[in-house]
């Protein structure tokens, strides 16, 4: 289950889980990045951790903790951005 985070002055962050980034020569970097950004239907959703606000608490979420459930993952441009 998600851990609660203590609210401190540092902004908590998360990120992708597993597969640490390899050092690549500068020129190849853009190609590598685009390949990594390809999401395909029928394939595994990349796992990640992320801090979250949920019902009055700050918690840590990991996508793989939701295995066994249907998940809708929504991204949006920003809080207070109207739409």
């Amino acid at each position: 289950m998600p851990d609660e985070i203590k609210a401190g002055c540092a902004r908590p962050t998360g990120g992708p889980v597993g597969e640490s980034k390899k050092e690549t020569p500068y020129q190849e970097e853009s190609i590598t990045k685009e390949t990594a950004a390809m999401i395909k239907v029928g394939r595994k959703a990349p796992d990640f951790t992320a801090p979250a606000y949920f019902q009055g608490k700050f918690i840590n979420i990991q996508l793989s903790e939701y295995l066994g459930k249907w998940v809708v993952l929504c991204f949006y441009p920003g809080d207070f951005t109207f739409v």
């Binding site: 962050t13 998360g14 992708p16 394939r43 990640f48 992320a50 979250a52 809080d79």
Partner: protein, 132 residues
């Protein structure tokens, strides 16, 4: 999930969203500082420094069944997302023996793909069924 901090999420929920939805947002509002997760999902706009409107449906095995990405000014259709989830759930429950034709929604007929149905969809499914 957006690039905002969890503190901004709290302020948005407490000061605005909780006035739209009783009890506030019923699911976790995730923070993606720097767009690290958004980049992996291919929806982070590096020039603008924000995520675009990506929506991913992930099944109980962690498999992406569908996604949709919109530019910021146009909002999503929640009903369409729900319809897709219902369709994917039906297909999963049928262990792939049933498929949902264009325009399907709960209660409408499904198709049972097999040798007998090849070239005969026109007999059971009419174009009008794609609309409404």
């Amino acid at each position: 999930m957006s690039i905002d901090s969890v503190f901004v999420h709290k302020m948005w929920n407490d000061n605005e969203l909780s006035k739209m939805v009783k009890g506030g947002v019923p699911f976790p509002m995730l923070s993606d500082a720097g767009g690290k997760v958004g980049s992996v999902y291919g929806i982070y706009d590096e020039d603008a420094g924000v995520e675009t409107r990506g929506r991913f449906i992930i099944d109980p095995d962690g498999i992406v069944q569908g996604f949709e990405v919109l530019t910021p000014p146009v909002g999503r259709n929640v009903n369409e997302s729900l319809r897709q989830i219902q369709a994917f759930q039906l297909v999963r429950k049928s262990k792939g023996t049933e498929a949902t034709p264009s325009g399907w929604r709960p209660g409408k007929m499904t198709l049972k793909p097999g040798p007998d149905l090849v070239g005969r969809v026109w007999e059971v499914w009419k174009t009008e069924m794609a609309f409404d």
